[in-house]
Amino acid sequence: MNTLIPAPDAIPVSWGYFKFLLMLTFPLHLILMNSMLGSAAIALYACLKGDETSKRLAYELAKVIPFLIAFAVNLGVAALLFLQVLYGHFFYTSSIVMGAYWIAVIPLVLVAYYSAYLFDFKFSSLGKGAVALVSLSLFIFLGIAFLFSNNITFMLDPEAWNVYFAKPAGTSLNLGDPVLLPRYLHFIVGGIAVGGLFVALVGKMKRKMASDVRAAAENIGMKVFTFFTGVQVASGFWFLLSLPQDVIRLFTGGDALATLIFIAGFLLALVVLAAGISRKVYAIAVLVVPLVYIMSFMRDSVRSGYLKPHFSPESLQVLPQYSPMFLFFFVLVAGIAPVVWMLRKALGSLPQAEEER
């Protein structure tokens, strides 16, 4: 038993509810985060390419990126909340061990966010500045992802926490962990792939965009998607093989469920790749959502595998009080109604707005 692991607090309802909520919200966060990352990357590419169609595509993407950031952050908050409930004692500790870097995430997001808005609102007058702004956002996103990878690998490895005593100001990163790089790469490459899909979808679905822009979006989006998904399958294997032996064993028969998820994920990835090559945008979109969920389940198995010697959520003490949870479910359902209503009204009135401009 590692003596540095803090004692956890009790939870109000059985741990399964939190696991469910975590596994529900985290993949949604991933999808949005990926779309944001991919859109920024493709917008940068389009800006650099510089022909008229590409420029207009970049502008279309500029308009959606701020929304993607807003909802990526929003869903990230939900996932972070449930993560803290189950794994807070690991997560807080790893955050402190890299505290100086971790807090930097906040100003970095702010800068990326405002430059995304500038990129949108001032697009027409930016000229060369557009490349600078969207690169700034993109590189910040990549940097933040790196910090997240650091924190999550740190969190899973209490043995690594000893670096704290040499650097209590939180200036350590988990660079010594052989899993860090493949893990980071796997998330980035996958993110850009899904982002490509998102851009292709924008091209397919935004009817009021000019047809050459739509075609360009679909074309480049699908190319990015297919290429990066191919790389992703490879990087996935690298990631898997870099994991500690006990964790790998989970996926090679050690744990029936984990193995099943792994096989399902692998097969689905191949199907998605094939669909990418034949450019079936809607089919891919329908398949990628379960794929992201499956990958998140795999990721969860990895986490359980790492933490097994130290902790499992089943061991958390429950001091039962269910009424606040029922209130939450009630508010969640009640909250969906106005959101749907507003979105329908907005979609009904937006095309007009476009014509007025």
Partner: protein, 512 residues
């Protein structure tokens, strides 16, 4: 002690929390009141069929969206990041007890951002009735967010019955819930008007500028007046100790209160009257002045609320230095270093006194004291003490200064801490002076230096007592708290009091 201490000796985690929260508090309150302001301003424009007002509202909505969704949203996440880094134990308690409160608040957050996006992006293209409803949805969701957060923030200062039953609802609807909710509601309306001054100051159309400035000024003044009684009601629900802290027992709190509150009240009232009578005088400097004073007002309220929670993060439950009150006895028994997880030394020995003292300092004092920083620098605070007086101070730290948590640990650990501060930080000697005959004779002086020069210089006492006779001085030693409410009574024996009285009397040149 359960968690590592993120140690930035010159800055202090508290400073970082304050920095992020101040920004967030100003924007999040604006995010609530501003919603109502937008709806009302739009309606005014619609009623009067005044396109200029509607156009103003649209531009203000853009500013509002950029401010609240981006700055407000991200600094909100920032608060989570920073409190988890600085106060992980307390954050964990808040998360685990109120997880479904936070989750519910998150739903309102979703509704809020969808609503503000629809409101701004469909301004002018949506039919006005639907658009107004969207504005209302925004405001209601934002206010409900405030409702939830208010419960949890209030819980930290006045946990009330939760301490006994640990029940979500007792913690949520805690004793300060309603006054604080009302106060915050009015403050958020006030801020909405104040931020609108910023936008109106940039208007070039003089007629519109005058109309909207008046409109905003009335808005600010009425909500400000309504906030004042709520503030008093709020203060009256605080537990005694917290209230006396809020009312100024700690010198710095008192100063914050005075500067913050009075200047803000004066400036706001003055500027607004000016604007109501003569809107044309409104300019950018004026708007920044009003904004600054509104910030001071809210800032001093929040600062005082934070300060009056001391020495706790969650009142009567967990101290600012992450020690749970209930565990104190156990820690004293088995020693702090043995009870803590994240210390480099597991016990005190002759050789590691300074290293052990540093561990203890980082865990128990650093939460409120920097080393060589601006904010509550321990070096400056202890500059006039020596090793024996500090040792004694630490033993009674909570009794002398209620707003500091009691020292947790055993006798040698206390020595290690005092040694670290005296030798490690000041480089002073940590020897006890020999009890020579002269020293015994100087007992009064030693006692005085140990117990009295902690808070004020010898000079001050000399001046204040210049006209007193020996009898009054002796009397005062039984009544220090009556003389000044932030001075604790002196707990020495009758014999020691005689010696101290002799010494003070001798300061004026009086004979013993």
């Amino acid at each position: 002690m359960n968690y590592p201490v993120w140690y930035l000796p010159e800055i202090g985690g508290g400073t970082l929390i304050a920095l992020i929260s101040i920004i967030h508090v100003f924007i999040s309150h604006f995010a609530v009141g501003g919603g109502l302001y937008l709806v009302c301003a739009e309606r005014k424009g619609l009623r009067k069929n005044d396109g200029a007002i509607i156009d103003f509202t649209r531009r203000h909505a853009k500013f509002f969206m950029l401010m609240t969704v981006v700055m407000g949203g991200i600094t909100g996440v920032g608060i989570w990041f920073i409190i988890a880094l600085v106060n992980p134990a307390a954050t964990s308690i808040l998360i685990h007890n109120f997880v479904f409160g936070w989750a519910t608040e998150w739903v309102f957050f979703v509704v809020e951002i969808v609503a503000i996006f629809v409101y701004y992006y469909c301004f002018g293209s949506m039919d006005t009735r639907t658009h107004q409803i969207v504005g209302w949805i925004y405001f209601i969701a934002a206010w409900l967010s405030l409702f939830v957060i208010n419960g949890i923030v209030g819980f930290m200062l006045t946990p009330g019955v939760w301490l006994a039953d640990g029940d979500f609802w007792s913690g949520f609807f805690n004793p300060s819930f309603w006054p604080s909710l009302l106060f915050r509601t009015f403050v958020s309306l006030m801020l909405a008007g104040v931020y609108a001054f910023l936008t109106t100051a940039y208007l070039t159309d003089q007629r519109l500028k005058s109309v909207m400035t008046r409109f905003s000024a009335k808005w600010v003044l009425s909500s400000f007046l309504a906030a004042i009684p709520c503030g008093y009601w709020y203060l009256s629900t605080l537990p005694n100790q917290a209230r006396s802290l809020a009312e100024g027992a700690s010198p710095t709190v008192r100063i914050a209160m005075q500067y913050g509150l009075y200047t803000a009240v004066l400036m706001i009232a003055g500027t607004l009257i000016l604007l109501l009578v003569k809107p044309a005088w409104h300019s950018r400097p004026v708007s920044f002045l009003v904004l600054a004073s509104a910030f001071l007002f809210l800032g001093s309220f929040e600062w005082t609320r934070e300060a009056s929670r001391r020495p706790y993060v969650i009142n009567e439950f967990i101290y600012s230095n992450s020690i749970v009150k209930m565990d104190l006895e156990k820690i004293n028994r088995q020693g702090f270093l043995k009870s803590a997880r994240w210390v480099s030394q597991r016990s005190t020995t002759e050789g590691n006194l300074l290293a052990a003292g540093r561990d203890i300092f980082m865990n128990q004092c650093y939460p409120c004291h920097t080393v060589g920083g601006i904010n509550n620098d321990i070096a400056a605070r202890t500059s006039f003490m020596d090793y024996p007086s500090l040792l004694n101070y630490i033993a009674n730290i909570h009794e002398i200064r209620y707003f500091m948590p009691p020292f947790a640990g055993n006798e040698t650990e206390r020595k290690a801490l005092a040694a670290y501060i005296m030798k490690g930080i000041h480089g002073k000697s940590v020897q006890f002076t020999e009890e020579t005959p002269e020293a015994v004779e100087e007992k009064g002086k030693t006692l005085f230096e140990t117990h009295c020069v902690l808070c004020h210089s010898e000079q001050l006492v000399k001046e204040k007592t210049a006209s007193w006779d020996r009898k009054k001085i002796r009397w005062s030693l039984d009544n220090l708290n009556r003389l000044n409410s932030s001075m604790p009574d002196y707990t020495g024996t009758a014999e020691e009091k005689e010696q101290v009285a002799d010494y003070i009397f001798s300061l004026q040149g009086g004979a013993r």
